[in-house]
Each structure stands twice: as structure tokens, then as C-alpha cells.
Symmetry: C2
Subunit: 545 residues, 2 copies
């Protein structure tokens, strides 16, 4: 066999993984990475923390250097070399050396596109003013650091309340900068369901962040030392620094110009082996569309984990192996001022959009047993199929133990588990780590009780709320301290003696503080012939709507 | 249907769960719990922390009271009532009221035995001396607290280095008491594999614990204010307080005397519905033998999680439902001086004893990416089937994120997953929470690389170690600072140029610090026609043997 030439466009995450694994599969192949930027394989996800000085040294962000690639993997990395075009017919790429401006061609046997995604910069008036930054590369973060130092930034505006916007907000606050966070939709982290991010929004405000929702930015103006950020609603926010964190867009230009198939969402279309519509070209990472593992729809996902896995699979495919990519669950996590918010699988809004049947439950267990000091509540939401109990997605927010529960549920989703499997999960328990019934077990039990018909679940945003009798089964003092309008109070402790006060011909919706007492009440009522359901998550969930 | 009488012997964990669920399944049933002790449904697992004053108030340990059972569940709890015998023929139990000494009988339709287990107290000379305690109940812990206060205990001996022995050690040290820990075997936490507890043993010693292994206690003597604890090896340890933590024995006396079938390990034999050999009698919790989920052998397991699940299943069965218990994985966790050690599934020693084929790998990843401050290493061991990669067990130890990885792998084992599934797991990643390749992914990749034949694994305790060429691929400075006797040093960075120094006709075993560079080296060697394997876990694992 003649020596195979594997050329890789883009040297971070997916591209770097593909290159390294290709070497592990062949000592003979010639492997070259073309990276437009100055760095290969850097820690993208660490950039906000470098801006925030939590990561103090830039060199910490360099996962691997060009020297290491050469020495360890015998892989040539050409940084500051931009691939301009692909000649598919002759299997050649045209490259521009950004240092010398030399333009040259290289022949490939296999070409891997890992160009990533670029920050969305809407074409608004003033978007190119100095002091307005996006964050995607090490030089980006260096420029922001320099700007903060030189201008002694006191006030910043962050545009966009997704994961990166939140991480940037936290890190700017960490540096003593006042932050205004402008989000166009009605919630931060728009990929999550709205009630799950209420604690995040409260936390942001508690840390002095001026959080402004439903604020669409329309223009930027220079005004002395400030940039004035204007919104459609007519507000104006002055700042010395503006961070644009509106998400990313796949870098599919090269692929489009080469005539490769592009998906509806603008990403490069690939098959399960990460192969594009050209059999000699593969694509991986943020630039490709992949299948959502739960919904099966094509999706764009800019996450490091899937990118790495895809890189490995493309390498396998190039080497003639049969590995396939199973799709993405979208498992993600974000830390914000001591709060952790995480998700896996489909959100409720996605399921609604796709008209996929689902049932949902909410619960608020402690991250470990309440009898051990320091228990912190977790708000947990589980989405599952009403047909067979298959888990469709989960979201959680809290101070401790959040990502653990989402990771366990992520593993469960990967293995096509049902809520009945969560009931039976055998998880670590000692007082400081969990509970004999872990939050994951509780979620399974509540869902399973609903599916078995033992304790049907009602929703706070459900249509039956107005036509039903609403019963608050908390104690009198709790009820008097605040309750849902229209509810009557029959404490669980008195319920068996007061059944005659409730109608048998109407639907009864029961709630308590978090759902446990209401579950007991629901069982008592149903066993006594009432048509009772448990309003999921109780008063605590109601308050988040 | 006439009113059913469900009598339950024992009101903690399994018994309490069974009672509460039975009520949720029937409002009519008469449910009575007979509890020999003074408390129902208390937090057993919190007792060491109550002794240690970490949990300051005794009432925190009361998960539910007799009043709550009455009011919430309409369940009668008779504390200080001991069930003396079972008349299976007439479906009656004989009970002694321990307060009045009255003896009476009660009729049952369904009887549930949840008597738990009692601490093992070997019949050694002096075992009943004042100041020698076991810990199983709230009164036990109260007595120990009182003893510590009254005698101003300065020195304690803990006999037994299992989970409870370690938790008691930590809590006594927390109270300023010097602790000598005597363990009969050659390691603490004997259910784990020896190399996994080396960090635990180091941590104990670092916190001033006098840890003495292979010390079998033979007698206790009173000597002035001290108890002298003697061992077979001739040592004598003085102490004002001795804690016996030698594990527990199922309380199967009642079942034995009633002629119920008992398993080989002394636990009550039950079927998948927790039914004993008598069709009107169920048994749950620490007193029963259950199936190990991985090995399928009968086992005794004293854990709260499985006890609760069993209680629910017995209640279901009594109510005519078809729930079954799937067996136990033995998932467990212990915190000791800031270190967490956890396991799920089978240990290597269990697999060896049962002659079940297995493969093992060790790794030492950070609990999150190294570029974010504060990454702590996790020692992780994964056991899997060499045939199909099915995960058989996992153990981990470290300061952070240990129980999370074990919980994820526990879920994977429950769902019959393979190491190939772990490779593909999509887990939470942000710099402070994990890595794009989580430790769970790494474990899967290493194991899968071995099974695919890409990078076979060699074992430090393997038989081929002496007949092979041992190659240390770390850099020269690392090699010179300490290496495995007999190893030659060929740094990974020089390997491609020095292949001619290595023999093609001998087995080559490669190692580095933790296994990653050795993996790269193994691939280079194999692709160049050498018969190379990666010594799992590297120098770090070697040092733990």
C-alpha cells in the first residue's frame, strides 16, 4: 500500500482527536493538520476562566503544542495556514500561509474538515467598535484581558445569556466588573426549560448582575469612553466592554463552496461514520449536523465531548474500521456563582416543538440526606414517554450534586432506560454523599407511580387546573404563609377525617411543598374513590412558573 | 374482601418502607410494626457522625416517629415490643412488650420479617467489659457519646477496618481522640481490592491514626482506667474506649426457629418477590440473602438502598402486584478524612474466587481537566468480561468526583452495558466539572482498546512480567527519579528512532506514569511489528502493589 495522506482542516478538539487517533491506527500515514489560528488543540472551554483570571496562565490552556504533535504523534501541524478551497476532482486543497501569504496546494487521500464554528456577530450598527468582543480563541481572550487592563473596565455588557454568556458574566464579576446581561428571549440558557433557570436568574441578580430579559440589542454607539448598547425596547446601557455571546454558527463555507451536502441548519451533512457526501472527505465537530440521540432530528451541537468522539470515529472510518457515531444527547453543564445547572436529552420545549408525546415530573430533593449538615436542594425535572416510560430528558439545578444526577441519567438515556430502571438504580449512599433513595430513584419512583396509575401527575401549566378542585395538603401554618389562589387547605394529617369535604365527581388536584405529602394524599384519595392527581413539584414548582 | 392484617417485624429501612408502601396500596389493611428497640425508622447510617458530633442533635436521626406513622400512614408502631416466635400453622406471632413484660399474640394475613442484622461480637475474653461498644442503634451511639464525655476518652481502639470502622475512626479523631485501628486482614475495607485502599491507609496514617494490619484481637483486659486490647501477634493496645466494628450478622433467629428456609450464609432465603419459604411470610433488608446482580451468587448485603427497595417489593407482592427484586450490585461509598472510596459490582477478589473470567484496567485521571485549578486525581479500576466487554465492577478512590463516576458505572452495570458503551458516554463537561473525555470515557477507551487488540493490557501482578522486556517510556528524569526494577528506559519522545534497540521475538511490556504515554508507545510498537502490551495504570499503579 502506498503511503496514505490524511489532511485535516482545523486542529482543535475534533480535528486534533482525529489526527492523533489516525496516527495510532497507522504509523505510515502522512498526517498534516492545517490550522488557521495560532494554536492547535487548546482548551476552548477554559477561555472564560482565563479572562476571569481563575486560570492565571495562558500556557495552561495549551493541551498540546505543534512540537508535541510532531514528537509524540509524528504529525505535522501548520498553524496560521488557512485552507481556501477544495478541489474534489483532483483531491487537492489550496492553502494560504497567513504568515508569508504564499498560496500552495496539497494532495489528499482523505480529507477531514474540522473547521469548528464561529461566534455569531449580527450586522448591527456599531458592531465593529473597539471594545466589542466575541470569545472563541486564545487571542480573543488575550485581547479582552488586555482591554480590561488598559481601559480599567468598570462596567461591561454581555449580550446573550447562554452558557458562554453566563460564564463570561461570572468571570467579569470575579474581576470586579459590574455586568449588565442582555438576553433577547424571556430566560437565560434558552435551550433549557424556563422554570429550570429561575434559580440561575435569581443567583445572577443576587451577585449584582443587572439581568435584563427580552432585550434585543439593536445598535452600539461610541460615547466618550463608553459604548452605548441600545435595545429595541429603547433602553441604553453604557459599558467600557461588550461581550457578544450569541452562540456560534458552523464554519461550513469551505464545504459549501466545494459543493458538499449541507443540512437544513447550515452544518455539514455527514453519515454515521462522519463521512460527507464526498467519499474521500470526512467532517467532525461543531461544523457538522448530527442526529439527536433522543429525537432523531438533525442538530447542531458545539460541545467538546461529541467533537472528540467524532474525531475518533472519522479516524476509524479512514482506517477502514466500522465504528459509528451514535448521535448526541446534548449533555451539558454550567457553573454560575456556586450554582450548577445541567441537562441531558431533550427539553420540554423541544418535545413540544416536535410534537413528541411526553410526560414530565418535577422534584426538589436534597443532594444528600437532610439529617447530615449541609444538604442543598436540587430542582430536578424528568421527561419521559407516557407510553413505555422511556427517559427522554432531564434538567437539574442546585448547588451540589447536580451534574452527578444528570450524568447518571445521561448513562440511562444512552442505554435506552425507562423510569422503572431509575427506580431500581443502586447508587452510592453514605450520609454526606446521597440518600438511601437518591434523587435519581425518587425521580424514577414519581414517574413510575404516575405511569402505573398509582399517582397520576398533574401539571401546573396543564389545562385541567381551572376545572378541578385544588387541595393544598400542607399544614395550616404553611398554607397561611402563602398558597396557590383558589386552593382549599386540607392538611395531610387531617385528610382521612375530612374526606367528606371533597367531591367525588370532580377532578382533585393535590399539592404540598415539594410533592411528597401530596403523593401520600393522592394515594389516600384514590384508594377512597376520588379522582385525584399530584401537582408535580408542589408549591415550589408553582412558584417557578 | 375482609380487612387484611399485615404485621411487620422491625421498623427501620426495609420494614418501614414496606409498611408505608403497604398503606399506599391499601387504605383498608391493618398494618402494625413491631420494633424491639426504642425507635422506628431512624438514620442508621448517620450514627458514626452523631458520635463524632458532626450531627449534633439526636432528633436529626429520627426519619419518622411513631406519631408520624400513625398520623400520616395510619400505621401502628409498637416500639419496645419484641416478636418472640411465629406460629406458621395458625398465622400468629407471639410478642413480648418489653416495658410491661406482657406476652401476647397477634394474628396475621401477611408477615414481613425485617429484623435487620446485629453487630458481630466475637466471644473473646473480656468482650463484655465496660467501655467496649458496637454501633448499631441510637442508644448505642448515645452510650458511646456518654462514655466519651464521662471518661474524657483520650485513646480509643477500633477493631475492624470496614466502612463502619473507618467512619468511627474518622469521627473519634474529629473529637480529638487518638485512634488505633486494628484490622485482621492485610488491608482496610476488605471487600475492596487491596491496591485500591492503599490511599485510604495512607490517609488514615496522615491523620495520626495508628493503623495496624494483620492484627487479630484475642482478648480484652481491664487495667486501671484502661482496657488492654491484645492481639495474636502479641501486641497490646491500651484504650479507654473500644469500638467493635467487625461487621454484622443477619438476625435470622426468628426465621430459623420458625423453620423457614435459610441460605448458606445464614440469611433468610427469599424469592424475587421477597417471599420466604412460607407463602404468607416475606423478609427484607439485612436479614435476607439476595442475588448478586453481577455474579448471580447468593449474598448478604447490609445496605439501606437495597433494603428500601426490597420493602417496597414485598409490599407490592403482598398487595398482589408482580414487582420483582433485581438483585444487588453492592454499590457503596465511604468518606474518610477528605478521601472518598466507592465501588459497584464485583471486586477482583470476588471474580477470582468464583473463577469468573475477567480483565482489569487501572487509570488515574484528574476529576476535572488539569488546566482548571484544583484537579484531584482519581484512582479508578474497571473489571470487565474479556469475552464481550460487559462491565463487571468498578472501584475508585480520590478526593473529588469519585462517587459520581461509580454512580455512572453502576447505572451502566444495571443496564448490562459494556466498556464500549462507556467509551461513548456523554457526560457533563465544563472545566470545573469534568473533561471532554471523562474518566468514565477513558476507562471505557482503555478497556475497549484492549479488547479490540489495539493495545493489549498487561498486569503488574501478571505472570508474564518476568519473561518480558520491560520498557519505561517516561522521560529520562522521571525514570531516574524512580522506576520498576529491571526496566529499560526508552522515552516515548525517542521511541520511533530507537525501535532497533527492542527485540521483535519477545513480549514487550510498556509503562509510563499513569498509562497514557505507554498506550501511545504500545500502538507505535505494535504497528511496527512488536508484541507490545501496556502495563495498566503505569508506575502509579505499580507503586500501589
Amino acid at each position: 500500500m502506498t503511503q496514505k495522506r490524511i489532511l485535516i482542516v482545523g486542529g482543535v478538539a475534533g480535528g486534533a482527536s482525529c489526527a492523533a487517533r489516525s496516527r495510532r491506527l497507522s504509523e505510515e500515514a502522512e498526517i498534516v493538520i492545517f490550522e488557521r489560528g495560532s494554536f492547535v488543540s487548546f482548551a476552548n472551554c477554559g477561555l472564560p476562566y482565563y479572562v476571569g483570571n481563575v486560570i492565571a496562565e495562558e500556557k495552561k490552556l495549551l493541551v498540546a503544542t505543534t512540537d508535541l504533535f510532531k514528537q509524540r504523534f509524528n504529525i505535522e501541524v501548520r498553524i496560521k495556514n488557512e485552507v481556501l478551497s477544495i478541489d474534489r476532482q483532483n483531491k487537492k486543497i489550496t492553502v494560504k500561509n497567513l504568515t508569508t501569504n504564499e498560496i500552495y496546494q496539497e494532495r489528499y487521500d482523505a480529507l477531514v474538515l474540522a473547521p469548528g464554528a464561529s461566534p455569531i456577530r449580527p450586522p448591527l450598527p456599531g458592531i465593529d467598535l473597539p471594545g466589542i468582543f466575541a470569545l472563541r480563541t486564545i487571542p480573543d481572550s488575550r485581547r479582552i484581558r488586555d482591554w480590561i487592563a488598559e481601559r480599567q473596565v468598570k462596567q461591561a455588557v454581555v449580550v446573550g445569556g447562554g452558557f458562554i454568556g453566563l460564564e463570561m458574566t461570572e468571570n467579569l464579576v470575579h474581576r470586579g466588573i459590574a455586568v449588565t446581561l442582555l438576553e433577547m428571549t424571556s430566560q437565560v440558557i434558552p435551550i433549557l426549560d424556563r422554570e429550570m433557570v429561575i434559580p440561575v436568574q435569581e443567583r445572577l441578580r443576587a451577585h449584582g448582575v443587572q439581568l435584563c430579559l427580552e432585550k434585543e440589542v439593536t445598535q452600539f454607539e461610541q460615547q466618550e469612553n463608553n459604548i452605548l448598547v441600545s435595545t429595541r425596547s429603547g433602553n441604553r446601557y453604557p459599558a467600557q466592554l461588550v461581550i457578544i455571546a450569541l452562540g456560534v454558527r458552523p464554519e461550513s463555507k469551505l464545504a459549501i463552496e466545494a459543493g458538499l451536502e449541507i443540512g437544513d441548519k447550515g452544518g455539514i451533512r455527514v453519515n454515521e461514520q462522519m463521512r460527507t457526501s464526498d467519499e474521500s472527505i470526512w467532517a467532525v465537530g461543531d461544523a457538522v449536523e448530527v442526529r439527536d440521540y433522543v429525537t432523531k432530528e438533525w442538530t447542531l451541537i458545539a460541545l467538546a465531548g461529541p467533537a472528540n468522539r467524532q474525531g475518533r470515529i472519522a479516524a476509524d472510518a479512514i482506517a477502514g474500521r466500522s465504528s459509528t457515531f451514535r448521535g448526541v444527547q446534548g449533555t451539558a453543564v454550567c457553573g454560575i456563582f456556586g450554582l450548577t445547572v445541567a441537562n441531558t436529552g431533550a427539553s420540554e420545549k423541544t418535545l413540544k416543538r416536535l410534537k413528541m408525546p411526553y410526560e414530565k415530573i418535577c422534584l426538589h430533593p436534597g443532594h444528600h440526606v437532610s439529617y447530615f449538615p449541609g444538604a442543598k436542594p436540587i430542582d430536578l425535572k424528568l421527561l419521559f414517554s407516557p407510553k413505555d416510560g422511556r427517559i427522554l430528558g432531564a434538567q437539574a439545578v442546585g448547588e451540589e450534586g447536580v451534574e452527578k444526577r444528570i450524568d447518571v441519567i445521561s448513562m440511562a438515556i444512552q442505554r435506552h432506560s425507562t423510569v422503572f430502571d431509575l427506580e431500581e438504580a443502586e447508587l452510592c449512599y453514605a450520609p454526606q454523599f446521597g440518600a438511601a433513595k437518591d434523587p435519581v430513584n425518587f425521580a424514577g419512583m414519581i414517574a413510575a407511580n404516575a405511569l402505573r396509575g398509582d399517582a397520576p401527575i398533574a401539571q401546573w401549566d396543564g389545562s385541567d387546573l381551572t376545572e378541578s378542585v385544588l387541595v393544598d395538603v400542607r399544614e395550616v401554618g404553611e398554607f397561611e404563609a402563602g398558597h396557590v389562589p383558589g386552593a382549599i387547605n386540607v392538611p395531610l394529617s387531617q385528610l382521612r377525617d375530612r374526606l367528606h369535604e371533597l367531591p367525588k365527581d370532580k377532578k382533585i388536584l393535590v399539592y404540598c411543598q415539594v410533592g411528597q405529602r401530596a403523593y401520600y394524599a393522592t394515594r389516600i384519595l384514590r384508594l377512597n374513590g376520588f379522582n385525584a392527581s399530584n401537582l408535580t413539584g408542589g408549591y415550589k414548582t408553582w412558584k417557578s412558573y
